[in-house]
């Protein structure tokens, strides 16, 4: 069942924060890239929350949404809900991605509900092998480890052993958070492998690098992993460095993820904490756990506030 049937997108607080973190990353990149002239390729579902946000906050106006809509009813719904002249592709991602012209820098968010699979890896290959640079490629996958028996077999039947780190051999190696670690590793191997093929025919200065920008973990329902890479040509290294992306506290070049854990606080508590922020030291509120206070101080700028409004 697609996730839009489960929950209204705006009510997924971690997802909501994630979108804003991507916006802030792109704003930082706007020092070197003309972000409003980038193309956004996403999977808008029927809510198109990312499309609305990226248009409003980043000024991106050429937008493509891919949503496999096999019935006329769903196609009608998508057409009705699309914001800002978003182009709609009613087919699976691996069929839609090759039809996108890839003639301009892009922000691509392959925001899957499911676990890492062969089809997802194929999509990554398509984007990495054809995108113009610079392009920001963001991928979100489900990293629930699943039942402790047979999860290794399930995983390799989708992903194949040749992409796995050598230490992964059994169900236990995919337990808990490790499913996310391994999934990120596999995607990273694939991205760099595809890139090596593409770079094989490029001159040294045209060669494309793909440093990792973001590595998020969160859980609105299922455990999710988001990884983003910035694909840019080798002769852009200095420019990219000038963005000081690592200054943004939520960016991550490596294995260590940034956890988007949204603390459950009352309105009164958040107001009280806001009056202490930004803070270099500790903040406090009666009875609130230290972990929640830390989480709040890391995320308060991006947290949504929900109001039950009669519209």
């Amino acid at each position: 069942m697609p996730s839009y049937r489960h929950i209204h997108y705006a009510l997924r607080p971690a997802k909501n924060v994630e979108r804003k973190l991507i916006v802030e990353t792109m704003q930082r990149l706007s020092r070197i890239v003309d972000v409003p002239r980038m193309r956004y390729v996403g999977m808008g579902s029927v809510y198109f929350a990312d499309f609305s946000l990226f248009h409003r906050r980043l000024g991106i106006s050429e937008m493509h949404s891919i949503e496999h809509a096999g019935t006329e009813a769903l196609q009608e719904r998508l057409k009705f809900n699309r914001p800002y002249h978003t182009n709609l592709h009613f087919t699976v991602t691996s069929d839609a991605l090759p039809t996108i012209p890839w003639d301009m820098p892009s922000l691509v968010w392959l925001d899957y509900d499911g676990k890492l699979s062969d089809r997802i890896l194929t999509d990554l290959e398509i984007v990495v092998s054809t995108c113009s640079v610079p392009t920001v490629l963001v991928v979100t996958v489900n990293v629930e480890p699943g039942h402790h028996e047979g999860r290794y077999d399930d995983f390799v039947s989708n992903v194949s052993e040749e992409l796995l780190p050598a230490y992964v051999r059994s169900d236990a190696d995919l337990a808990g958070r490790k499913m996310g670690d391994v999934s990120r590793n596999v995607m990273s191997v694939l991205v760099h492998d595809s890139l090596a093929i593409r770079n094989g025919v490029l001159s040294p200065e045209e060669r494309i690098l793909a440093p990792q920008l973001l590595h998020f973990r969160y859980k609105d329902g299922a455990r999710m992993l988001t990884v983003a890479w910035l694909l840019h040509s080798a002769n852009w290294q200095e420019r990219v460095a000038s963005c000081n992306l690592s200054e943004l506290p939520f960016t991550s070049q490596g294995d260590e993820p940034f956890e988007i854990s949204v603390p459950k606080l009352t309105v009164r508590e958040t107001l009280h904490l806001d009056s202490q922020l930004p803070a270099s030291g500790t903040i406090s509120s009666p009875g609130v756990a230290a972990a929640d206070l830390t989480a709040y101080s890391r995320l308060y700028r991006y947290l949504p506030s929900f109001v039950d409004a009669d519209l």
Binding site: T71, S94, D95, P98, E125, I126, S160, L163, I197
Partner: protein, 470 residues
């Protein structure tokens, strides 16, 4: 002085002999190619000659005759001959001389093809060549040549500064004193037929341009290759140029569908108009399969893809930049250009096989409806709406006439019309319990309410009460 001597001695001690041997060329290298392919390889020289004469224009009036007998192999063409200067400096070198100009757009490239073929066939060969301005004759007795220390061949007749009409130019090669096994192949009708089929395919473009290739008195027709194209079905056309590292290599890819033919389906790879691989349905191109151990983004070939056709054409003035193997029977899997192209081919294959899979579902659904006796599907109007019908009605266009689109365009398969996928449940229960359930469902006997129905109703009852009604 003393120092010189010891330096000399130490040099001698350090010297390692790495010179090539004739043995390597005469009896080792020939094992890498089948006789059949080596004859095709010899045709390459004639096609290169035609290209030198006519470029990409019409090859009408140009011909190659191949004749095989128990004791003689003969190939004769009127494709311009081999210039004496080319013969002296380059044509018979073992390995391509890097000083040879690389702007010829040839098929021959490695400097192994012709010699390897001649060595493969027999112990004696003669070559007669006439160009518009010169001519030569070369006779080689391989056994004698092997005895000599020197590597040179010697022309037996040479004439330069001649004036000959183009129609009288050409090359004739005769090989005698066959090696073991050669005579039986060259006189075997089935072997000759295979050679003809392969030559039709490999030299399809030369034949299509009007060149006559005759093998034992049968002239070859070009093998028709094409793609279906209509208003709602368009092949993908991808073009790219690889610059850097020498002469640019241009790539053109056409992918789509054609008539269902399991023997013609697959990928075809051409280098300078010569087919080097295909129709390929293996992991050498895109059909990796993949599974638990290795990854493949495209499934293994299956007959459900018998409409699939993909064509990749590489062209380069410098033939050594093209990603083919020396036997021209495959692609150089490690070539960076090939690796990049292969990824492009995979990206272009996916939408086509997804479509073919959908067509297959549509067909299965219709057959299911027919079996269930539903008349609606027989309705002509509805049939014309089916993607399968649109595919059948689209005409096959020759490759040169295909227009194509940036990506594969195809008719929409109406998935709504397809039934939800079903699975088969089977289980055993004690007869007494089944009879009890039947009674509770209002049935009296197995004839009146079959076991299958009892199982199905029990399942429905469970979902009605425990499910969320979705």
């Amino acid at each position: 002085m003393h120092d010189d001597v010891s330096a000399e001695e130490s040099r001698a001690e350090r010297r390692v002999d790495a010179e090539p041997t004739k043995e390597f060329f005469v009896s080792m290298l020939i094992r890498d190619i089948e006789l059949h392919d080596s004859v095709i390889d010899l045709l390459d020289n004639s096609v290169d000659g035609a290209r030198r004469l006519r470029g990409t224009g019409s090859y009408s009036g140009l011909h190659v005759f191949v004749n095989t007998a128990r004791d003689e192999f003969l190939i004769r063409d009127n494709c311009g001959g081999i210039p004496v200067d080319l013969a002296r400096k380059y044509a018979f070198r073992f390995g391509r001389d890097p000083r040879r100009p690389a702007n010829e757009h040839t098929i021959g490239q490695f400097g192994v093809g012709m010699k390897r073929t001649l060595f493969k066939i027999g112990q004696k060969f003669e070559i007669d060549s006439k160009t518009t301005t010169d001519s030569f004759r070369l006779e080689v007795d391989v056994a004698e040549w092997r005895q000599l220390d020197e590597w040179d061949f010697w022309l037996s007749e040479v004439a330069e500064g001649e004036n000959r009409p183009e129609a009288d130019t050409g090359t004739t090669i005769r090989v005698t004193q066959f090696n073991d096994g050669v005579a039986s192949d060259l006189t075997n009708d089935r072997w000759i037929n295979r050679l003809r089929t392969d030559a039709r395919l490999k030299h399809r473009l030369a034949i299509a341009r009007g060149m006559t290739i005759t093998i034992n008195e049968v002239s070859l027709e070009p093998l028709p290759l094409g793609l279906k194209e209509s208003d709602d079905l368009k092949p993908a056309r991808i073009e790219h140029t690889y610059n850097g590292g020498g002469a640019p290599v241009s790539l053109r890819i056409l992918v789509g569908i054609s008539d269902s033919d399991p023997q013609a389906a697959g990928w075809y790879i051409f280098c300078n108009d010569r087919l080097v691989l295909g129709p390929d349905r293996t992991s050498a191109t895109v059909w990796e399969g993949g599974g638990r151990h290795t990854r493949g983004s495209i499934p293994a070939y299956h007959d459900q893809y018998s409409r699939f056709r993909g064509y990749a054409f590489f062209d380069c003035d410098d033939a050594s930049r093209l990603p083919w193997t020396t036997t021209k029977k495959g692609v150089d899997a490690d070539s960076p250009i090939w690796r990049d192209t292969r990824q492009r081919m995979k990206n272009a294959t996916r939408p086509v096989i997804d479509f073919l899979n959908e067509l297959d579902k549509e067909r299965t659904a219709i057959e299911g409806d027919r079996r269930a006796g539903q008349a609606g599907i027989e309705d002509i109007e509805l049939l014309s709406e089916l993607a399968d019908r649109k595919v059948q009605d689209a005409p096959v266009r020759k490759l040169d006439e295909v227009v194509g689109a940036a990506s594969f365009q195809r008719p929409i398969v109406n998935l709504k019309a397809l039934p939800a996928p079903m699975v088969w449940l089977r289980f055993d229960k004690p007869k007494t319990q089944v009879d009890e359930a039947r009674r509770l469902m209002g049935g009296t006997s197995e004839r009146d309410l079959p076991n299958k129905e009892v199982g199905s109703q029990a399942f429905d009852y469970f979902l009605q009460n425990e499910g969320e009604g979705e």
